[in-house]
């Protein structure tokens, strides 16, 4: 094939999403334009005039629409952005998602409540424990056993959820550093995350996608020596976080790159349904662990970290300090971890112990039935929202009384947060676009499900 045979014009057509893509201004109505420039608040014209210094919208021949992604090293997966630029300034932005859509909500309708955990854990693959916890808690509410979960199971769930928050935020430190050119940070962040994942591997057998938190409790008890492993983590990570502070927080280049970038105000964040560190970066102290406590978070002593400027630096600092708060919670859990059973002894949802299967025919049948047919869940619908590292992850389940959910919907925090991108990017530089995406910390598996 000679060089002239190759026609580059066919290559972009393969990623064409037709009507979902960003169109030139002349092809847009005012409402669609309003959305793409990131208009959020519904203000009167007089209020808008008071705001002043809004970027002037230029003629179409002065702007350029460029495509970023779907495969871009800094888009955290297969996220595609279309940006309208004037010079280096971003005027409009449209995220185009769905490249990772695998129909997990449809799959969830085929799997029993017993098997559902394997499905949901793969959605937000950086915080699998939060997914499993939301799903399990919703199932337990439908079963009416949410008050009967043994104490040890509750505390174990909390321990794993907090460690998962640490591992997720440590990965954010790595990717945020990498996106902004602090490449050595990438290695440090992954290294610390791996320490946490090593503990998960010891407990659950897997580094990710654990399916460990299940309706009724957990899959197994903590292994011998778990306390020493956690204590080792708690000794190890604080000094590494100090290193992060030296490498990034106080460093002028780092601050220059992040401060004042991707600003969002509290009103705008609430209107857009943003959650987690994005909402807290604006100064809204909203954390479901404190405000709508679940598990035993109401007995825990921890601070909700809030920012004041709503910029990318605040979001970075919030996550860094949330690691410290999580460690504080983990220490309290270590002190108070009760003995007892790690799952509910309800024959309906709990398979018999392995030893019983060898000696009892009934136990074998029970085990077989619960894993092949699952257990029936009473009719009803329920929504449970918990605080994942990225914000509120919610599970909405409709049950028709059969062993499979009639409808299983996950409220994905990244899906909501990614809607903030057009707003955060408006008027910024294209070089900061990567900083903004990174600070939102989207997980595309969660966005597309």
């Amino acid at each position: 094939m000679t060089a002239t045979d190759w026609t580059p014009s066919t290559a972009p057509a393969q990623t064409s999403e037709g009507a979902q893509e960003m169109k030139p201004r002349s092809a847009l109505g005012p409402r669609e334009l309003m959305r793409e420039v990131g208009s959020v608040l519904r203000l009167s014209e007089a209020e808008v005039a008071q705001l002043g210094d809004l970027p002037e919208d230029p003629d179409e021949d002065q702007t350029m629409i460029i495509n970023m992604g779907p495969q871009h090293p800094s888009t955290h997966g297969v996220l595609r952005l279309m940006l309208e630029l004037q010079g280096e300034t971003v005027l409009r932005c449209k995220p185009i998602i769905g490249y990772l859509h695998t129909g997990m909500e449809k799959t969830g309708e085929q799997l029993t409540f017993m098997q559902g955990g394997t499905n949901v854990t793969r959605m937000d693959y950086l915080s699998p424990m939060a997914n499993e916890l939301a799903f399990s808690m919703a199932t337990e509410q439908l079963l009416g056993i949410d008050g009967d979960i043994p104490e040890r199971a509750v505390w174990m769930r909390m321990l794993l959820a907090e460690l998962n928050r640490m591992s997720s935020h440590l990965l954010f430190m790595a990717t945020n550093g990498m996106d902004l050119g602090a490449v050595s940070m990438m290695i440090y962040g992954w290294r610390e995350r791996e320490e946490v994942l090593r503990f998960f591997q010891k407990v659950t057998g897997l580094r990710m996608n654990h399916n460990f938190i299940r309706p009724g409790g957990l899959a197994a008890d903590l292994p011998p020596g778990w306390r020493d492993d956690v204590l080792r983590l708690l000794d190890l990570i604080p000094e590494r976080l100090e290193e992060y502070d030296i490498l990034m927080t106080g460093q002028p280049i780092w601050r220059e790159r992040l401060q004042g970038v991707g600003v969002i105000t509290p009103d705008e964040a609430i209107t857009l349904g943003a959650c987690g560190p994005i909402l807290r970066s604006t100064g809204v102290a909203w954390d479901l662990r404190r405000d709508m406590p679940y598990l035993r978070y109401d007995e825990m002593d921890f601070d909700v970290i809030v920012g004041s400027y709503g910029d990318a630096f605040d979001r970075y600092a919030i996550r860094l300090n949330e690691i410290r708060e999580s460690m504080k919670i983990v220490r309290q859990i270590l002190d108070r971890m009760p003995p007892g059973d790690y799952r509910i002894q309800d024959k309906k949802v709990t398979p018999p112990p392995r030893a019983r299967i060898d000696e009892s025919m009934e136990a074998l049948i029970h085990h077989f039935k619960i894993f092949t047919e699952g257990f029936k869940v009473p009719e009803g619908e329920v929504y449970v929202g918990i605080e994942s590292p990225r914000g509120e992850i919610g599970c909405y389940i409709v049950s028709d009384g059969s062993p499979t959910p009639y409808r299983m919907h996950m409220r994905a925090p990244s899906f909501a947060n990614i809607q903030c991108l057009p707003h955060m990017m408006r008027g910024g530089l294209v070089a900061d676009a990567v900083a903004v995406i990174s600070s939102v910390d989207p997980v595309l598996g969660d966005v597309d499900r």
Binding site: A19, H101, Q110, G394, D400, Y406
Partner: protein
């Protein structure tokens, strides 16, 4: 989780099952409102004035195979339901709205003018269930490719009925 509190309107104590002019239900301690399509946007606006300023979630449900589900008196079951979860972060409470949407006229007014954050959720619901939202600025698919046929989360859209489609590749 105790994310439910009594709704602000204690007015007609004789008829406790009504709030904001629509039937009120309770599901596992969570407050559920059942507005009809005409009331829908007005109820959301009233709730927004009462503090429910955040739309946490909006999704669809296809009740094709489960039409006889329990509903409060005065609500006629339809094939589709659009479920909206609202959050009041000042008073720390939630409320859920379930709107019935008939199959032959699967249309609902958009909440975009009240809560711009519902924009992507409404597109997802359209994509997955084929419920269109009038006055939505960009009623396109969001997760599926634009040329996809059918709405995958409908109950009559069977798993495996279409061979996996890869664009531009010869299958």
């Amino acid at each position: 989780m105790s994310d439910d509190t009594t709704l602000a309107t204690e007015d007609e104590s004789s008829d406790a099952a009504v709030a904001y002019g629509c039937p009120l239900g309770d599901s596992h301690g969570q407050t559920v409102l059942h507005p009809n399509r005409e009331q829908y946007v007005d109820v959301v606006k009233t709730l927004a004035d009462d503090g429910y300023t955040m739309v946490v979630d909006l999704c669809g449900v296809d009740f094709l195979e489960y039409l006889n589900r329990p509903l409060p008196a005065g609500v006629d079951p339809e094939r589709f339901e659009v479920v909206v979860n609202l959050l009041d972060i000042t008073n720390r409470r939630r409320v859920r709205l379930r709107v019935q949407v008939p199959e032959d006229d699967a249309e609902l007014p958009s909440l975009f003018d009240v809560h711009p954050g519902t924009e992507a959720y409404e597109r997802e619901t359209y994509d997955m269930f084929g419920v269109t939202f009038t006055d939505h600025p960009d009623m396109t698919r969001i997760l599926m490719p634009e040329d996809w046929v059918g709405h995958p989360l409908r109950k009559d859209f069977e798993v495996g009925q279409i061979p996996v489609q890869f664009k531009g590749a010869n299958s």
